[in-house]
């Protein structure tokens, strides 16, 4: 299996060492990992309605993915963009080719959970975290159960579920910039549910949500660290 790890554009900005965490986990599973960085799935432009621009960015990603059997993405949102929307931006035979390529993209946590060597990982980490379910992971990818099953494999870790888990944190990409008052209102509701769990570490598959929640936590004086699942698993490796 030739596996590529795609380090999404915003992750390179906010959490430059996250790709390293993900790589260590994949290597622990026995995968040989190449890195794809400096690419974007096109979602920022796509969600704003600029499809030509989204397509040209997404095309670079699909090209970089050539020759790999699987492309692992440390973001549920980017994964859903590639698998659900990107192929639709191409016409005719190119669409078929894009669909073929897109089918090789997998969200990191679900990929790890389904990996044949997942059972041999010997994950162990003492502590308590809460889990934030990203909307795109939950509703576009339907991967909530896979992710929580993976968290359940970590010995010594208590994972608390949020009340109102299905509710959006208010990020939504450009939405959070264009409608800050509304986004902030949604975030406040999410922060209440996070605070109520009593944890100081919140984990999720999507650092985009986590950055939003963390920005709100700091702004309102809530003590909270936000970790990607990759960071958590890397810490839980032997």
């Amino acid at each position: 299996m030739r596996v590529a790890l795609f380090d999404p554009c915003y992750l390179g900005v906010l959490r430059p060492s996250d790709a390293g965490h993900a790589r260590r986990v994949l290597e622990a599973l026995g995968d040989e990992v190449a890195l794809i960085d400096g690419r974007c799935c096109g979602q920022p432009a796509f969600n704003s309605g600029f499809r030509g621009e989204a397509k040209s960015a997404g095309l670079q990603l699909l090209r970089a993915a050539r020759g790999f059997d699987a492309v692992v993405v440390a973001s549920g949102s980017c994964t859903s963009m590639v698998t659900h929307y990107l192929p639709g931006l191409f016409d005719g035979s190119k669409a078929a080719g894009a669909r073929h390529m897109a089918a090789r993209f997998h969200e990191f946590a679900s990929y790890v959970n389904a990996h044949p060597n997942a059972g041999a990982l010997a994950l162990k980490l003492n502590g308590v975290v809460a889990y934030h379910d990203s909307c795109h992971l939950r509703r576009e990818l339907g991967a909530t159960e896979a992710v929580t099953a993976l968290l359940g494999r970590v010995q010594g870790l208590e994972v608390r579920r949020l009340a109102n888990e299905a509710e959006c944190c208010g990020f939504g990409g450009a939405f959070s910039v264009k409608l800050p008052e509304v986004s902030g209102g949604m975030l406040r509701a999410k922060l209440e549910d996070v605070s109520a769990t009593g944890v100081r570490v919140l984990v999720s598959t999507d650092v985009s949500c986590l950055a939003q929640i963390e920005a709100g936590a700091r702004g309102t004086g809530v003590m909270l660290e936000t970790w990607s699942i990759a960071e958590l698993l890397a810490k839980a490796l032997p």
Binding site: L14, G49, V128, V129, R160, L179, L187, A189
Partner: protein, 580 residues
């Protein structure tokens, strides 16, 4: 700043809509999901199929409706535009002066209330929620719960503005106060205007659902009944109408069915009935492959109940008769002049709307398509920004440089608020690059403030027989189920044509369905033969006959004030069923 943002920011700052809406909507969404599980497993699929068939055969079904209306003596009217709809209704009203109107979203769409009043008509909004928002003067904030943005104290204020002297803000008192005004109006009124939830092509009957009994009054008391509805609201047959019923009230208000489900046939002797089908852009939407499915909508409001944007900023922020996700899609399609062009942006694309829609409308995908349609009209600045963005991410070198710049900028910015000003509703600081880790964070969790989700015990899975189920479900609605009931003064005794177990409903046909005596009775006693109980609403088709039929599901009620149920609005609080 977009018009939506301006309105939303003002609402959030001045009205705090989330404080009222969030707890109510959270409970409603959970209860709706639970209520849907009481129906047949394929209810949503069948409702979706019924609506899909309707929009695929729209003109054919309209032709059948027209022919059946002719047979029944119901007036058939088509309005191409909003102004035409108003003109037709004004002509039908003739010299009618006092008009009782019940809830109609199409009525809001064409500006009916305002237009009729401007023409000198004394119009009363008879739905309790609509009556309240009519005083407030800002329009409904939700398609099934118009006054949901107002708490009881504000509603008392509104009623006081209308001249009411109320000692407190008890929802029962407030609801009954409006009920009495409406009841008095009906004693002397010339025409009733209602909406219609579906018009059945194969039989030419109108299906109208309501809780309070104001529609019951509107279709029975005045000499003239006019229904206004969208031209897409046709459905092939009774089976299709019942399929819609099975998801409509559960999705809208977490009820099994509304108190009253009317299947209206020919008008009574001396009465006139007309239906006005409004196009107002629907034919155009029907031609649009990407958007035509929006015409499947049954106006339940589940999408706004589930929408976090709606909860945060409220329904009035949309500035349109249609709010929430359905409003963000439908408004720019119905009014393509650009006035609602920014509404598709009022979504984080979380997909909850699509998930809860009972007729399978891919709402969040339509929002994406509408944003793409609007992109050519974006500002030069925004267009240039996306061009530059695409150029940057066109090469790996450019993208890496952008990431590096982003990191440098964020690190330099440090901990500053994303937006300044004490009034800012936005609590965020700029995000940190690679925030520091506290080794103790993982092991210093406090006890959870609320008990964590507990896996509920499985409901007892033995399926009760139909009669037992009927008794349970009817009792849950406050209906008294007995073996015998001695006659009392003011009783109305009726025999049901059928009963529906899963919803605790009673089917009344022909003379038994007469609304006037039903609503006037002090107590309604319905006799039901247990052999006539079916399981689901969709099984009741053979008992619906071809004439006037009424399905009663509990006593008349309202939940227009803070979703608190008040029983006994128009019509008796006391509903007794004698099974045997």
């Amino acid at each position: 700043m977009s018009a939506y943002r301006e309105r939303a920011a003002t609402e959030i700052r001045e009205e705090h809509p989330a404080a009222t809406l969030t707890p109510i909507m959270r409970k409603l969404v959970d209860d709706s999901a639970a209520m849907l599980t009481r129906g047949p497993a394929d209810a949503r699929a069948r409702a979706t199929a019924a609506r899909a068939y309707a929009i695929d055969h729209l003109e054919e079904l309209q032709g059948q409706v027209r022919a059946n209306f002719m047979r029944r003596g119901i007036g058939y009217h088509r309005a191409a535009t909003d102004t035409e709809a108003v003109a037709i209704i004004l002509r039908l009203l003739g010299d009618a002066k006092r008009v009782a109107k019940s809830k109609s979203m199409v009525g809001e769409e064409v500006g009916l209330t305002h237009a009729l009043r401007a023409a000198g008509i004394d119009l009363l909004e008879t739905d309790i929620g609509e009556y309240i928002v009519d005083i407030e003067g800002r329009g409904p904030s939700h398609i099934t719960a118009p006054a949901i943005h107002l708490n009881r104290a504000r509603i008392r204020e509104m009623l006081a503005r209308g001249g009411a002297e109320l000692p407190d803000d008890d929802p029962v008192r407030l609801s009954r106060f409006v009920r009495d005004i409406v009841g008095t109006f009906f004693a002397d009124c010339d025409a009733g205007i209602t909406g219609a939830n579906a018009v059945i092509a194969s039989s030419g009957r109108l299906m109208v659902v309501e809780n309070e009994g104001n529609v019951s009054l509107g279709v029975s008391h005045p000499k003239l009944h006019i229904a206004i509805t969208g031209m897409e609201k046709v459905v092939a047959d009774e089976a299709g109408a019942l399929a819609i019923l099975e998801v409509l009230a559960p999705s809208a208000t977490a009820q099994p069915l509304t108190s009253f489900t009317h299947f209206l046939a020919e008008p009574d002797a001396g009465q006139e009935r007309h239906v006005v089908f409004v196009d107002n852009g629907r034919s155009r939407i029907l031609m649009e492959q990407r958007y035509r499915d929006i015409l499947k909508c049954i106006r339940c409001g589940a999408c706004m109940n589930g929408c976090p944007v709606y909860r945060a900023a409220g329904g009035l922020s949309y500035g349109s008769p249609y709010m929430g996700p359905i409003g963000a899609v439908l408004s720019p399609l119905l009014w393509p002049d650009g006035r609602y062009a920014d509404l598709p942006g009022a979504s984080s694309l979380c997909g909850r709307c699509t998930e809860v829609c009972p007729v399978g409308i891919p709402l969040h995908r339509m929002l994406l398509d509408l944003r793409a349609d609007a992109a050519p009209k974006a500002s030069i600045r925004e267009k240039a920004a996306w061009k530059a963005w695409a150029a940057t991410f066109g090469t790996a070198r450019g993208a890496r440089a952008a990431s590096a710049l982003g990191r440098i900028a964020l690190r330099a910015a440090g901990s500053i608020p994303l937006r300044r000003g004490a009034e800012s509703a936005d609590p965020r600081l700029l995000p940190l690059v690679e925030p520091e880790r506290d080794p103790a964070a993982l092991t210093s969790a406090a006890a959870p403030r609320h008990p964590l989700a507990v896996v509920a015990l499985e409901e007892i899975s033995t399926e009760p027989d139909l009669e037992t189920l009927f008794r349970q479900r009817a009792a849950a609605l406050g209906v008294l189920v007995v073996a015998a009931a001695a006659s009392r003064d003011g009783d109305r005794h009726l025999r049901a044509t059928a009963g529906i177990a899963s919803t605790g409903s009673l089917v009344l046909s022909g003379p038994a369905a007469a609304r006037r005596p039903l609503l006037a009775a002090r107590r309604v006693v319905v006799h039901l033969d247990p052999a006539l109980i079916v399981r689901y609403p969709s099984d009741v088709g053979p008992y619906l006959g071809d004439g006037d039929t009424l399905i009663l599901t509990g006593a008349s009620r309202t939940a227009d004030i803070e979703k608190i149920i008040v029983r006994g609005i128009h019509g008796s609080e006391e509903l007794v069923v004698v099974v045997g």
